[in-house]
């Protein structure tokens, strides 16, 4: 097998031969097992994706393949070379390019764009003539030409990743290994990055092994391997993977949301809140014919909700995240939240806002981090503040919390003025940071007690409150474990519990779900939902997962310090649909060339998504014909366009591109 791969690789092998072959790969760090017996084959000329949350074993696996980390068990062959030692790994390194994880972390901050590229090239022994030519071509392709002289530290996140890609490609490797190249990058740059990568794989016959923590990116790969806890959950083409999940997603809008969620939770394994909607995955019965699935799923949901007023109901096919959850927690892990005593809902005067921001501005020297930001959040509302790293989200939160004074503007939180009573604000809010500021050497109970004492919860109330929180946040039974020993999902729920000890009426959550797996994320959102709907707590949450944004009641999109959209996710998507039309997807025989031809023909937002082409168009009836006309000269055939639901990512990308066009004018 390995010999064969080597031989074919030498004489211009056919696409599809295995470039990387893993059998029973094991990697341990002390007592922890990071990769637990993984079999994997990466085929030549393909983009192979590794999808999974932090700690799934993706990074370790990729480093092992790149020959920069020794493994503990199993076999690994790269280009037919069995990699068993530092020496054998060296033999294939010239044919591999590795881009490790972290925004620009592997680049040199003090060096300019060009100096970074030169360093990588010379390290790899690229001769100066070839270097000049490749540099010109790659810089043009990534549109970094203008920034040649700019120090790397002054690039945006998206630009850093593109530079990282250029540096990885400069010695013309046959296999590139990219570890989470899109994490923390804004959706526009993310799409841009994928387009460049798609082009490279297509034109140069590159083989790519790429990882991502975003489930919604899994559809972009020719082959996707889903990983969790060091093992492979599922593998296949995106379409093949979805075909393996016989289920229907039913979305319901219902007046009595709390009761509806309780009932759906009792009947189906995976129910979550999405703004005004509840989204439930309904598994098909074993012999149910595919054509019947949607109808029967709808009937079962209606039956479960009998007696409640269902305002609207939609059915759809499941997505890859649903598949991940089905595989990761097949038993329907998230048990329904324990029915807590309905906390006395506080009474608020009409028109009261839990959070108000009016024209907030924050200037750092020449740089305006936050520019005229205004929004309001009602009690019981889940408000999402969205944007890429560096968009100004954290600065807004710091100003509202009274940690940082604004340059201009005003606001209030929990009824206290941001400028005059920052001390009061701090007592009335809960704050959960990205880093989960827990004491890792204290147990779960000790952490909760400590936070209760810090926040001045009366001594007599403490024990009861700790007990309530253990239940609410589903961390019972692990009270005596050290926080540092908890898996990410539980640690995150403990951090939330700590932010809630003093029963705040407003809670700020700064990227609380970074690095948590989808199952854990859903559990977390269940708790948020309970806080908002049952206890009337106002929640302000920041996230860079666009899929999570859909779960908020109301969102503000931030871009370069400004709020560029402010409405419910549903409204934003409806508005995009009204202006630009629906989202259509279709397969073609040559997707990359098709995208270019379509763009030339006036479909400005045609983009490649895995192996299919996505575009926005208002006129579904004539679309197929117009696409056929545009592609005919190239002899490319296109399948029938299929309507896809718009995502928040589509909204974000369209908004930002429009702003950029305006700015250019």
């Amino acid at each position: 097998m390995a010999r064969a791969a080597l031989v074919t690789a030498m004489d211009g092998s056919p696409a599809g031969a295995a470039v990387v072959n893993l059998r029973g790969l094991v990697k341990r760090y002390g007592a922890a097992t990071a990769v637990d017996g993984v079999d994997l084959a990466v085929r030549r000329g393909r983009m192979h994706g590794l999808i999974g949350p932090d700690g799934a074993g993706k990074s370790s696996l990729m480093k092992i393949v790149a020959g920069v980390l020794a493994h503990d068990g199993g076999t690994l062959e790269v280009f037919g070379q069995a990699v068993t030692s530092e020496r054998s790994a060296e033999r294939v390194k010239q044919r591999i390019g590795l881009m490790p994880q972290g925004l620009g972390q592997n680049l040199y901050a003090e060096l300019s764009v060009e100096e970074n590229i030169d360093f990588f090239a010379r390290l790899r022994g690229v001769d100066e003539q070839a270097l000049a030519a490749r540099k010109r071509q790659l810089l043009a392709m990534t549109r970094l030409e203008r920034f040649r002289e700019r120090p790397m530290k002054n690039l945006s996140g998206g630009m850093k990743q593109k530079l990282g890609l250029v540096c990885t490609l400069i010695h013309e490797p046959e296999l590139i290994i990219l570890d989470e190249p899109t994490t923390g990058v804004d959706p526009v740059s993310r799409r841009d990055f994928w387009a460049i990568l798609d082009g490279l794989v297509d034109e140069r016959g590159l083989t790519a092994l790429v990882s991502t923590a975003y489930m919604d990116e899994a559809a972009r790969f020719a082959t996707a391997t889903m990983m969790l806890g060091g093992r492979v959950l599922a593998e296949g083409t995106p379409a093949g993977l979805l075909a393996a999940l016989p289920a229907t997603v039913v979305s319901v809008r219902c007046g009595e949301q709390v009761e509806a969620q309780r009932r759906l939770g009792a009947h189906f394994r995976d129910t979550m809140l999405r703004g005004a909607w509840l989204r439930t995955v309904v598994d098909a019965a074993p012999e149910e014919p595919a054509s019947e699935r949607a109808r029967r799923a709808e009937a079962r949901v209606r039956e479960a909700l009998a007696g409640l007023a269902v305002e609207a109901l939609d059915t759809a096919a499941p997505d890859l995240e649903d598949l991940f959850i089905a595989r990761a927690a097949p038993a329907g892990a998230p048990a329904p939240l324990p029915a807590s005593a309905p906390a006395a809902r506080r009474a608020w005067p009409p028109g009261y806002h839990a959070i108000e921001a009016h024209g907030l501005v924050r200037q750092f020297g020449d740089f305006r981090a936050v520019d005229q930001v205004s929004f309001t959040v009602k009690p019981g509302e889940i408000f999402g503040l969205l944007g890429a790293n560096g968009a100004g989200k954290t600065t807004v939160i710091k100003m509202l919390n009274g940690i940082q004074p604004p340059t201009a503007g005003s606001g209030s939180v929990a009824g206290a003025d941001m400028l005059r009573a920052p001390g009061q604000i701090k007592r009335r809010i809960g704050y959960m940071s990205q880093a989960f500021s827990l004491y890792l050497d204290l147990s779960v109970r000790e952490n909760l007690r400590l936070f209760a004492a810090i926040y001045g919860v009366p001594r007599a109330r403490r024990a009861a409150r700790v007990h309530e929180l253990l239940r609410l946040c589903d961390i019972q039974g692990i009270e005596d474990m050290l926080a540092g020993d908890l898996p990410m999902g539980r640690r995150q729920r403990l951090a939330l519990a700590c932010a809630l000890v003093h029963e705040p009426e407003v809670v700020f959550l700064d990227e609380p779900t970074s690095g948590v797996d989808p199952v854990g994320r859903r559990r977390f959102w269940d708790i948020l939902f309970h806080l908002a709907r049952a206890e009337g707590v106002a929640l302000l949450i920041t996230t860079h997962y666009m899929s999570e944004a859909e779960q908020c009641d109301h969102i503000s999109l931030m871009y370069a310090g400004r709020v560029v959209a402010d409405a419910s996710p549903e409204q934003l998507k409806a508005e995009l649909g009204a202006r630009r039309g629906a989202l259509w997807a279709f397969d073609t025989s040559a997707p990359q060339a098709a995208v270019e031809a379509l763009r030339d023909a006036g479909f400005a937002d045609a983009s490649l998504y895995g192996t299919s082409v996505h575009l926005l168009d208002p006129d579904g009836a004539t679309l197929a014909a117009r696409v056929a006309v545009a592609l005919a000269p190239l002899g490319i055939a296109a399948g029938p366009p299929q309507r896809r639901p718009l995502s928040m990512e589509d909204v974000f990308v369209e908004r930002v591109l429009e702003l950029e066009r305006e700015a250019a004018r």
């Binding site: 530092e86 390194k93 390290l123």
Partner: protein
């Protein structure tokens, strides 16, 4: 190993260092500041001791006696006290370190040819300083007694001064301090400070440089490329060795011209030993940075591994001969002592190759050993 790729790595490193203003400042200022702080602060000379007199006698004889103290450069006369009551408080408050108490009848006793008694009170907080002060007091008192005895003898016998002096003190002692005639402690400290600072600074620079790359993740560029271990390590360390050598030059300048320490030895021998010593200490940094993962851990380890041996096991403060046999053994295992001998020898004693060659040999062996260990421990395909 290709020189080209080594230079590519070195050049990248140099660009990074040069553009990181803070790091560059640390590189160049810290050794200099350490030299100034220690040079001025670590003087072991005991002079200008704040001193007062309680003179219950107040006769020409008692005033004459106490003037011998106030007039010396070792004691700084701060005034007269009415009685002993205030002594305790003033010494406790560090206003005084020594007090001379002359009882009533001092002049009368002397005049009558009887032995007079005086008392000195000394601050014993620092034993070394107290011993030195006691030595001064004894010497001044001995001189005073000798002068008085001479005077009495002359008055009694009428003999000439010379023969009387020979009679009173049959052996006259003359001391000459070789290599550091005025016994200026800064002269002997300066070369040792060069040793101490070159022990501490190069490993710090090296671990910051290497571990920064590990912590950030850019080390994976090296692991993933075909650059050899030797090419990378040599290229990576070159700029740090160069900076440390420049610092050595700077420290030499400070020792020679700011502190005025004489340099009597062979400049070439000293330069070569310094280069080897810097290679040694950079090697210590390399070994540490291969073993630890974070910059914080690296700093702590460097502090422990370098500061203590440089200060205590090198002969900088405590002579090797005064150490316990075990401690002296440890000192012989570490490079600091060998370079300290070169530095002191070159500056003060004016010795060169004939005396120092074994030290250079040890330093060279040490540098080679550390670099080899660093090379063997460094892996482009590590286990974690």
């Amino acid at each position: 190993m290709k020189a080209g790729r080594t230079l590519v790595v070195a050049r990248k490193e140099w660009l990074e260092i040069r553009r990181d203003r803070l790091f560059m400042a640390l590189c160049l200022l810290v050794p200099m500041v350490l030299m100034l702080l220690f040079g001025y602060g670590l003087s072991l000379d005991v002079e200008h001791i704040p001193f007062a007199v309680v003179d219950h006698d107040d006769t020409p004889a008692s005033r004459d006696y106490s003037a011998r103290f106030s007039d010396s450069r070792y004691f700084d006369f701060r005034g007269r006290l009415a009685d002993e009551g205030a002594i305790d408080r003033l010494i406790a408050a560090n206003a005084l370190r020594a007090v001379l108490v002359i009882p009533p009848g001092f002049g009368r006793d002397l005049g009558a040819g009887r032995a007079a008694r005086v008392q000195t009170v000394i601050d014993g907080t620092f034993p070394v300083r107290a011993m030195t002060m006691r030595g001064y007091v004894l010497a001044i008192n001995a001189q005073a007694s000798a002068d008085l005895a001479l005077e009495r003898a002359r008055a009694a016998t009428g003999a000439d001064e010379r023969s009387l002096a020979a009679l009173a003190q049959p052996v006259r002692l003359e001391t000459r301090n070789l290599y550091n005639q005025p016994l200026r402690s800064v002269w002997s400290m300066a070369p040792k400070l060069i040793m101490v600072i070159l022990m501490i600074a190069p490993p710090f620079l090296t671990v910051l440089g290497v571990v920064r790359e590990k912590e950030g993740g850019s080390i994976f560029n090296i692991y993933a490329s075909t650059v050899s271990k030797a090419e990378f390590l040599v290229g990576k360390l070159l700029p740090y060795v160069a900076i440390s050598l420049f610092n050595a030059l700077l420290l030499f300048g400070l020792a020679r011209w700011l502190f005025g320490a004489p340099f009597k030895g062979d400049p070439l021998c000293f330069a070569l030993a310094t280069a080897m010593y810097v290679a040694c200490t950079t090697g210590i940094g390399l070994v540490i940075s291969v073993l630890v993962r974070t910059q914080t851990a690296a700093m702590v380890v460097v502090a422990i591994v370098t500061v203590v041996p440089a200060a205590l096991y090198s002969g900088a403060i405590i002579p090797i001969e005064s150490l316990s046999p075990a401690a002296a053994g440890v000192a012989h295992l570490l490079p600091a002592m060998y370079y300290a001998q070169v530095a002191t020898g070159s500056f003060l004693k004016g010795v060169g190759w004939p005396v120092l060659w074994p030290n250079l040999l040890v330093l060279a062996a040490y540098a080679a050993l550390l670099m080899t260990v660093g090379y063997l421990l460094f892996s482009k395909r590590p286990r974690a």
